[in-house]
């Protein structure tokens, strides 16, 4: 299995992951505090970090971690209101080596995203932005 052959994380990747974690912690915390407008731009930044991190993890043989990074990117884009990018990344994550339960979760997240996208793009209806229920 790929897991056994995974190479160690290079310092540059750990640095990238640390930067992503910082911005994502801020986005989640501000959203939990109800400061959705403050959190709003942070979702996109966190997502773009994840998009850079995913292929680097893949290059190290860490395919499941790469898939998780794409799921995280999609989830962040969705919260930031960039639904098209979110849908694409959910689809990319589904092409990765997911456990059955994760696959079910991601399919459900993608369906919700597409539903939201069709309502927004086709009907022009407004959507909630960056809202996130509390929980871990």
């Amino acid at each position: 299995m790929a897991k056994a052959k995974a190479k160690p994380y290079p310092p540059s990747l750990l640095e990238l992951m640390a930067s992503k974690t910082t911005i994502l912690m801020k986005a989640r915390t501000y959203a939990a505090m109800g400061l959705t407008e403050t959190a709003q731009p942070m979702w996109g930044v966190a997502a773009s970090f994840e998009e850079r991190i995913a292929p680097l993890l893949e290059a190290l043989g860490r395919d499941r971690e790469a898939a998780a990074s794409r799921i995280s990117a999609a989830s962040c884009y969705q919260k930031g209101g960039d639904l098209g990018r979110a849908a694409n990344l959910y689809q990319a994550a589904l092409a990765g080596p997911l456990r059955p339960s994760t696959r079910r979760d991601v399919e459900a997240m993608r369906a919700t995203c597409l539903d939201e996208l069709s309502r927004t793009a086709l009907n022009g209806s407004s959507r909630r932005r960056g809202k996130m229920p509390a929980g871990t």
Binding site: M17, A18, T29, A67, A68
Partner: protein, 184 residues
């Protein structure tokens, strides 16, 4: 025989890893703890599967968490603007990070977003960290079982650490457990 006691100031959280933006969590933790009593707050911590040089062969210990007046003032402002449930969740994350560093030795934690869930993981220990909190102590066992199942079903196929905190006027409690991966 008296239980081993771990002491910490909640403000230490920010010093340990200033980049992690844990100040709101520390403040929320004070917000919850101070509703029950002044500092320090004492937690009875029950461990399962945890190996720690500090803990030795013990499976229970006492966690004493202190805080500064300045943090209490921030907490009062936070409580005035936030609903109780997310405050308890933030508070539990603060305590989980204390235990991740002082007890579980998880190293630097990475965070991924997973829909409504936060997905904390330790890349060096190949372990996820699942956190939850409640103000209903009767919920502790059920919540812990749920979180163990959820954590072991993690995306990576890694092992898991689970921290569930129960804040209560009858005494705060924390259940901490460490589990091997659910699959080979």
């Amino acid at each position: 025989m008296s239980l081993p006691t771990m002491r910490c100031a909640i403000e230490d959280l920010e010093r340990w890893d200033p980049r992690l933006f844990l100040e709101p969590h520390a403040v929320a933790c004070v917000g919850v703890m101070s509703r029950y009593a002044g500092p320090p707050a004492t937690f009875e911590v029950a461990c399962e599967g945890v190996t720690s040089r500090w803990l030795g062969k013990a499976t229970n210990f006492r966690l004493e968490v202190s805080w500064a007046e300045q943090t209490a003032a921030k907490a009062a402002r936070l409580l005035a603007t936030m609903q109780q449930k997310p405050v308890v969740e933030l508070a539990s994350v603060a305590l989980a990070f204390v235990l991740a560093r002082r007890l579980l030795a998880l190293g630097r934690l990475d965070l991924n977003d997973y829909g409504e869930r936060a997905d904390y993981r330790s890349p060096t220990a190949e372990c996820v960290l699942e956190v939850s909190g409640t103000e209903d102590p009767s919920e502790l066992g059920r919540r812990h079982r749920e979180k163990v199942a959820q954590a072991l079903d993690n995306t990576y196929g890694w092992g898991a650490c689970v921290v569930v905190c129960a804040f209560s006027a009858k005494g705060h409690r924390i259940r901490v457990s460490r589990h091997d991966p659910a699959e080979a």
